[in-house]
Amino acid sequence: MIGVLVRIEALKTAKRLGFWVTTGLFAAFNAMFAFSSLRSDMTRESYTFALPEAWRTIIEPGANIGPFFLGVVMILLVAPEFSWRTARQNVIDGLSKERFFAGKVILFLPLTVVYAAIPVVIGGTVALLSPSETGSPLVGPSDFNFMIASWLGHLLVGSGAFLLAALLRTSGAAMGILFVYLLVEQIFADLIGRSSEILSAVTDFLPISTQEVLVSPPLHYPRVLAEQNALRAEQGRPLLEFHDFWLLVVVALAYCAVFLAIAFLSLRRRDL
């Protein structure tokens, strides 16, 4: 059965122009970023965009915006199944609702990996072109954690977009809500966080906050943290403090599980 689900989802996705355009834009963004970093290295003749130091620079932009490209892609691949009533047809043709859902999850999980890998592959390849002598593409433990964190961010935001698509069933509405939420979460967190200590601790773990903290370099690179805190101490600003990385990992995975579970229950309960 899994083979069938893979086949139909692969066919639906491969033929979808919107998927290639969105993914292509994301890849192009990463390529542009990598090449411009390399070029500014060349003109300055100080090679900071060389592996292994460059991993941080390579992963960071993709880790920040990749989840939203993936969110758009998930909405494009899930919501129209309802507005075109093709989910209906799939079920009529013999796919149970449960299997239809499983097919979408089977599509989603590899896409999170692909999206998290795009910056690594493109940036890594470009960085290898750096004329720096010291280069070695070795991935250090901090780099590895950063990559995992980037992937978790994709998982978290992607599953949120998946949920919106499954609940709202039209891509326009789902994208609208996704982007409005992006804008209002911080405002909301500031508002309710101010009223009490406990609430402010909770707002640290709202979905977008969790994703943002996960992919902030000082969480993974002690040297960056030290640098930034030194700067903050100089300016008299409060020092950066982070929750434990593994706590953030658990929170991100829990969000993903809850979002997918709600999407599943909603699909099962509602008529197609």
Binding site: L11, K15, V91
Partner: protein
């Protein structure tokens, strides 16, 4: 063996009391193997909803049903591989070609490539198979839906308004396909409001009105259940007025040839005596053979008011 059985099947859309719609109300029907079963009803009478529950996309709010004897969710998923169905409008991926759309359906149904080509051939879409679905005309979309239905050579074919959007040629082809399938012992369940279509193709019918079954049986039974008479008189208005008062009359309609009255019993002598008693002398009184359409109109009259009233 009954292929489809429903027991008090019910669907209420919406839960708020104010705006919930009772779309299907305790429908109990049985469709036996080999029957060509017509499911008739005016717009909004619950045909699509009933079929939607059978194919598993609409959750019933009451009652139950069996397909090939199966009623548990797990078993239903298994037996659904033995049916082919279309519901309302054809639902396909607009950006994919007809062929790729069928490849999706074929993968779900576990059908191989040659069968896809065969079905495309069968519905006359072979030369447009590599065009995108969104470029198809309505009739071509219907044909593709029919091809998808036939892919797994189903034992039970469920068609919701299959003739919708088809040209006369297409309608004839559908009729031909239904005849061939029935000849091969397949069971066919089709909803329609094209009554002459149903009368020509179906062996059995159920007429549904506002979610309730009003009559069911073989086409001959349903057509002859209500007897009717055709009458003419000098003063037609008085005749109609008198007939409308007649306790045995279920409907009175003027036609080009006179007045048609549908009766609960076939006793025309009693009708004649009644009219004579009212001082109306008829110039013509004869049994009238109703068509399925007459029965349908009798049983479902007045659901939406009359469109002709709006026009006049």
């Amino acid at each position: 063996m009954a292929v489809i059985e429903t027991f008090g099947l019910t669907k209420r859309y919406g839960t708020r009391r104010g705006n919930s719609v009772l779309a299907v109300d305790e429908v109990s029907i049985a469709v036996e193997q080999g029957q060509v079963f017509g499911f008739l009803g005016p717009n909004g009478s619950g045909k699509t909803t009933t079929i939607g529950m059978l194919v598993g996309i609409i959750n019933p709010t009451g009652g139950s049903f069996r397909l090939f004897g199966a009623s548990e969710p797990q078993d239903l998923v298994a037996v659904r591989t033995r049916l082919g169905a279309t519901l309302e409008t054809p639902n396909f991926y607009p950006y994919m070609t007809g062929l790729d759309n069928l490849r999706v359906a074929a993968a779900i149904k576990g059908v191989s490539r040659p069968r896809i080509d065969e079905c495309l051939e069968l519905v006359g879409l072979a030369d447009r198979a590599r065009h995108r679905f969104k470029t198809y005309s309505l009739g071509m979309k219907q044909r593709l839906a029919l091809a998808a239905t036939m892919l797994n050579d189903p034992e039970l074919v469920i068609l919701d308004e299959p003739a919708n959007g088809l040209d006369p040629q297409g309608m004839r082809e559908i009729r031909e396909i239904i005849r061939i399938l029935a000849g091969r012992g397949k069971t066919i369940f089709l909803s329609s409001h094209l009554l002459w279509e149903v009368e020509r193709t179906c062996t059995h019918v159920a007429i549904v009105r506002k979610g309730r079954i009003v009559t069911t049986g073989t086409v001959a039974e349903v057509v002859s259940a209500g007897t009717a008479a055709l009458l003419r008189a000098e003063d037609e208005d008085a005749l109609v007025a008198a007939l409308e008062e007649y306790p045995e009359a279920t409907s009175v309609q003027r036609s080009d040839n006179g007045v048609v009255v549908a009766l609960t019993s076939g006793d025309l002598a009693a009708l004649n005596r009644y009219l004579a008693g009212m001082g109306i002398h008829v110039s013509h009184l004869a049994p009238y053979r109703q068509s399925l359409e007459d029965v349908f109109i009798d049983l479902t009259e007045g659901d939406f008011g009359s469109m002709t009233e709006i026009a006049t």
